[in-house]
Amino acid sequence: MDVVELKNVTKRFDQFVAVRDLSFSVRQGTIFGLLGPNGAGKTTSIRMIVNITAPDEGEVSVMGRKHVSTELQQHIGYLPEERGLYKKMKIGDQLVFFANLKDIATAEAWRRVDQWLERLELSEWKNKKPPDLSKGMQQKVQFIASIIHDPEVMILDEPFSGLDPVNVNLLKGVIIDLKSRGKTVIFSTHQMEQVEQMCDDICLINHSTKVLSGSLKEVKRRYGKNTVILDYEGPDSFLGTDLIKRHNRFPNYSEILLNDSADAQEVLRRALAAGARVNRFELVEPSLNEIFIECVTGKGSNGNQRQE
């Protein structure tokens, strides 16, 4: 069942078209990656799903219902990319306030607040105010605020930014847990490794239009095994020839994107001929990072670009 569905949605601000003829659907119980460079139209799309703004054309439906009432908002949890807390309000009071706004009665809200603070290791901060908390802790409080009403659909925009690996894992655990309970997550991020780890389906938007969508596996398969992971010692003079479209050199290995018609075996042969010692040679699907860059720039990252 599709929990969220966009059909030919267009949204304009004066002359500027923020989203053009966008369609995608999100299956229940999956994690859906909504991707795209800055300014592509992700936030506008999300705002239409949450019913903050209305589309000029097309249709947005959530849980099978056309999105006209605010009542549906009770079933959506939204963690915006830009988010904040009231500076002069205690963490506990604040979370109860947000829960109240989602129709959770105060007593029940306190019970849930205690539970979530416990789970995200924030219990001792319940009566503190945000300025006393670190940025990461505030981040976790905001996360709780967006899911305290146990929504069917969660929209998380860069939920892990600014968190240390321990806390990232803590939140990932929560998200996977929610998924296993049949909840649906729409996940927007620029961290492609996280998308590869977590998402079932993705949709990539660029310049207000959809450029790519489908299940993650299918998208990668579509690109084929055109990438060579090569770990070698010695000269690299064999690279940068007619065979290779792009070459990302990492400290421990190189990621080599082949030209469409090139044969991977030819790369290996030339490397050996040039006198390099090959420790590892593997033919793989391209990383989502490469697919993203290729879709967005039309040509991919610069050759020989060093990455962290």
Partner: protein, 432 residues
């Protein structure tokens, strides 16, 4: 409207629980009390004894005694004489006579006193020169702006008049009978045609009301603006709009902060009532009349505060939604604040002629009505239809402003970056 209530509750509690609110609520009436009672206190208590040396060159042996008698009768101060000498207080003049003998040079004596007075501020002297018919009293002291000097002047006048009349052949009982003061009573005609005593203190009441409405509306209006900016700047709006409609957010905020204002004003009004009922009797025994505050006036005060607050708070909310920082808000709020300030610049005109056509027209302008109509009510009791008409105009304007502000607000709170132009604001209103 459950969600509006939740927001009202948050806005109210978050502010009422602050120390600033407690201090503002309790300290302001105390400050007002002090402002009203301290001058009375000092006027009635202060002064003490002032010793004045009289350099007497008149050659009139009776004049000095007459002045002394006149002063004595004043310091016994019946309430009546005190009302005619406002701010007299109980300063007691002790006069010492220094006769300038016919052969003596007044200038020399005076120079000596002047030199001493320069070193000792307590030395004060009075020069009496010329005969009884053309007396020219001159008063020399470090402080010549003291209210009580008037008492001395009046005492001298009375004494001189008294002596002149006695010279003309009248006996003391005739003199006191002929010079007895008459007093004019001030009666105020209300709009319903009744006659009410008093009126002298109406100006004070009117000004206090004007000032309090102005300050409260401005203060709480700016609270609303800052609240909106805080939510926008910290991006809390993004989370809020996923649960609440922007119009509900705005309404909740305006009502919540307004409730804080009403709480504060409620405390003030109550303390004003206590002050006037108990305070009046306490100070009027000292001979100074307290401004009396009819309950109806306090009711109007609350009504005009509420209407004025709603009018300006929605406008301030709108301004807050279009800016991204407090600095930008400083400029953007100017057109709204000027509407509130204009009455403060022209209220003198209104109070001088509160029933003129211009005054009536100005007090009907919705943005001026909270202050100017309130003031006219305090001064002249305008006909009820005028009061009701100004309220109706305000309510209509409020509805218009709420609509306009809500349209702008819902777009503005989600727009960051550069401030919109008027043309852009116009387009925002039309967005779906």
């Amino acid at each position: 409207m459950k969600k509006v209530l939740i927001i009202i509750k948050r806005e109210y509690l978050v502010r009422v629980r602050t120390r600033a609110f407690l201090i503002g609520t309790i300290v302001t009436p105390l400050l007002m009390l002090a402002l009203i009672t301290l001058p009375i206190f000092f006027a009635t208590r202060g002064g003490g004894v002032r010793r004045v040396t009289v350099l007497d060159q008149t050659g009139e042996p009776d004049l000095f005694d007459a002045i002394n008698r006149s002063l004595d009768s004043r310091s016994e101060s019946s309430e009546e004489t005190n009302r005619n000498d406002p701010g007299v207080g109980r300063t007691r003049y002790v006069l010492t006579r220094r006769v300038i003998a016919p052969g003596e040079e007044l200038q020399t004596v005076q120079t000596e006193f002047q030199r001493q007075a320069g070193q000792d501020p307590d030395i004060t002297y009075l020069v009496l020169r010329g005969g009884l018919d053309k007396l020219e009293p001159e008063y020399y002291a470090k402080n010549t702006s003291d209210f009580s000097i008037g008492t001395l002047e009046r005492a001298i006048n009375d004494a001189v008049a008294n002596l002149r009349l006695r010279r003309a052949g009248l006996n003391p009982s005739q003199i006191s009978a002929y010079t007895k003061r008459v007093e004019m009573k001030r009666n105020k005609i209300t709009s319903s045609g009744e006659v009410r005593e008093g009126g002298g203190t109406d100006f004070v009441v009117a000004f206090v009301m004007l000032f309090f409405i102005y300050i409260s509306v401005l203060m709480y209006g700016l609270f609303v603006m800052r609240g909106v900016i805080e939510e926008k700047q910290s991006r809390i709006v993004e989370v809020l709009v996923s649960s609440v409609k922007p119009a509900q957010m705005m309404l909740g905020k305006v009502i919540g902060i307004g409730a804080v204002g009403l709480t504060q004003i409620g405390v003030w009004v109550l303390s004003a009532l206590v002050l006037t009922t108990f305070g009046v009797s306490a100070v009027s025994s000292r001979g100074v009349s307290m401004p009396s505050l009819p309950v109806s006036l306090l009711v109007y005060f609350v009504i005009f505060f509420v209407l004025g607050y709603f009018l300006f708070a929605t406008l301030y909310a709108m301004v807050g939604s279009t800016v991204s920082s407090e600095e930008e808000a400083q400029q953007a709020q100017f057109p709204v604040t000027i509407l509130l300030v204009v009455p403060m610049l022209i209220f003198n005109m209104i109070i001088a002629n509160p029933t003129s056509g211009a005054s009536i027209a100005l007090s009907m302008v919705p943005f001026f009505a909270p202050t100017l109509m309130m003031m006219r009510i305090a001064v002249v009791n305008p006909p009820l239809w005028q009061i009701l008409l100004s309220m109706a105009i305000m309510v209509a304007t409020i509805l218009g402003c709420v609509w306009l502000s809500a349209r702008i607000y819902r777009v503005g709170i989600l727009m960051y970056g550069k401030r919109p132009s008027i043309a852009e604001l116009g387009r925002w209103i039309r967005y779906s």
